[in-house]
């Protein structure tokens, strides 16, 4: 009886190590898996108004050409 109990305990303790799970992150090649980002017009200033954001950016874009100022 004691021998059987000893055997069971030894096997149980011995097999505990086999239950260890992999701690290495599983990366899927080629896909971004990080935090998602919000789009620029979804911030506080434009509150989802994409058109207003595009207009603001268009005005800034045009500000880069000095020929507009001398026309």
């Amino acid at each position: 009886m004691k021998k059987a109990l000893f055997l069971v305990l030894t096997v149980t303790v011995g097999l505990v190590a086999c239950g260890e799970y992999s701690q290495v992150p599983n990366y899927k090649q080629g896909n971004y898996q990080g935090k998602s980002d919000v789009r620029p017009w979804e911030g506080e200033k434009f509150a989802g108004n994409k058109q207003a954001w595009e207009n603001a950016l268009r005005a800034r874009n045009q500000g880069q050409t000095e020929y507009n100022r001398i026309k």
Binding site: Y27, K28, Y32, G34, K35, V38, G43, N61, Q64
Partner: protein, 208 residues
Amino acid sequence: MARMKFLCDTERCIECNGCVTACKNENETPWGVNRRRVVTVNDGVPGERSVSVACMHCSDAPCMAVCPTDCFYKTEEGVVLHNKDACIGCGYCFFACPFGAPQFPNGPAAFGARGKMDKCTFCAGGPEENGSKAEFEKYGRNRLAEGKLPLCAEMCSTKALLAGDAPVISDIYRERVMRRGKAGEAWGWNTAYGKPEQAAPAAKEAAK
């Protein structure tokens, strides 16, 4: 809205380093990290040119291809950004980038003492809430969410550095070439944008 691009008109760049200073101040990057810098070629000899270089936000970005943790992503506007939480500081992106854009601030990361990679974000922040303190501390200022263009281009005294919507800045450059009668070199343009647009992951999956 089309893709966001940088264009450095080498005929106009006077090597004032205003763009470098503006970037460093706006994003409060640490010592040793210059997201943008001015490179002079043929220094002191006829034909000398200066080019303002930073991340060009390539169509088919090599940094995205080599990153072992896939921490890079591309926004709808074509801006290449990365997630610093996933970056392990391996430095592969630095070797892959034709422009030397990835910078390493020295600090803790999984590999060595390089620290987590830092690069130009087109003043678009990163994967944190727009305009939040966390975003500013990790990625710098998010000017795009404020309806503004990158400060380096907006501060450029001679408007050599153009940033913004690809068709618009191409038109601006084309008009300059017509007026001055000389096509300078739109430096790095073919290297960065000469390849087809990298497909979105969803499209890639669908194609399989």
